[in-house]
Symmetry: C2
Subunit: 180 residues, 2 copies
Amino acid sequence: MSLRHGLLGLLAEGPASGYDLARRFTEVLGSIWPAQHPKIYAELNKLAAEGLVEVESEGPRRRKAYRITDAGVAEVKRWLTDVDVDHTMRLQPLLRSLFFWMMDTDELQRHLEAEATYYRELADQYRDYAARKDRGEFGYSEQTQSMRVTIEAGIRLYSALADWAEWAQTVPPAKPPKHA
Amino acid sequence: MSLRHGLLGLLAEGPASGYDLARRFTEVLGSIWPAQHPKIYAELNKLAAEGLVEVESEGPRRRKAYRITDAGVAEVKRWLTDVDVDHTMRLQPLLRSLFFWMMDTDELQRHLEAEATYYRELADQYRDYAARKDRGEFGYSEQTQSMRVTIEAGIRLYSALADWAEWAQTVPPAKPPKHA
DNA sequence: CTAGGACATGTCCCTAGGGACATATCCGAG
DNA sequence: CTCGGATATGTCCCTAGGGACATGTCCTAG
């Protein structure tokens, strides 16, 4: 049910079309909450049927812009304050790390290097975003302030993973017992 | 398809029953790759049908222990080396953070405090695990060495999130433009 | 004027996962 | 001896999400 509230939250910032929302989801949220456009359009229709959003305007190319309703705003707020946070995490890279002992050393090193690079790049990307925000490129609304906080989490998370992947390269493949 | 390979990987360490595997999934993997027992039993049956695992023994209380086959081992290795890592992350807490501007200050502070505590506790738990491992409590096999690496990721990840939640408490609710 | 590409919205099907429910088995405490 | 709790394995249904496919609209470069 998070996509639902993700859409409502984004619409709380201002009217947008499904297409707009899909772009925002892939651009900003791509690495923390992926969502494909079919799901987004379907959910918007449901939200409209329930009166949480309404069609604000119809533009060129069949574009439909949605506006959040008062009921919609109330629903996001309810979610934010009354519904327990779902802390579920599902990180395939960490699951894989449990089985590093099955890989041979060379392959593992190459794997860890690639992982480190991947995470480092994402961290840099977020750091960049943060710098632009801090330069005032996105204005100073409360919304961008929240985005700044989200981005900070991205920076820290991906930096931690990059550091971890680098650290893991230094771990000896197997530590023999002392009395061996 | 990760549960499949998760099970195979765990079975590569030695025979185990569905019950054992379910326990390992909730205890060690609970916070990085949750899995419920119905899925595990179902997947084990599929794996057995495909010849990737086989029933090693039947014990008391209908217990069935599975052993991985050569084909199964080959399949995990193929997964580890030939299949691209899925970096998908889906972190509801970060999605929520985008909408912090909709919460009032008190609520947000309480929320962030609870989050910080939650992550700090998990980090501590993993740190504890690491200490026990480093004391040699789990032996010195290559498997425990890999587990140590996974645990390190948990420590770093949850520490980063805890730090972030604490840092976020110090961010002013909205930064007004300088020329205001 | 026409063809390709970006904009824009959808349908359909399949798999993965969550959660409630059901059931059999064994052991130990009282 | 019996009853509760841990062990152990499943079924069933529903929703969320991934990915392929389909279609309509407008603009612009050649």
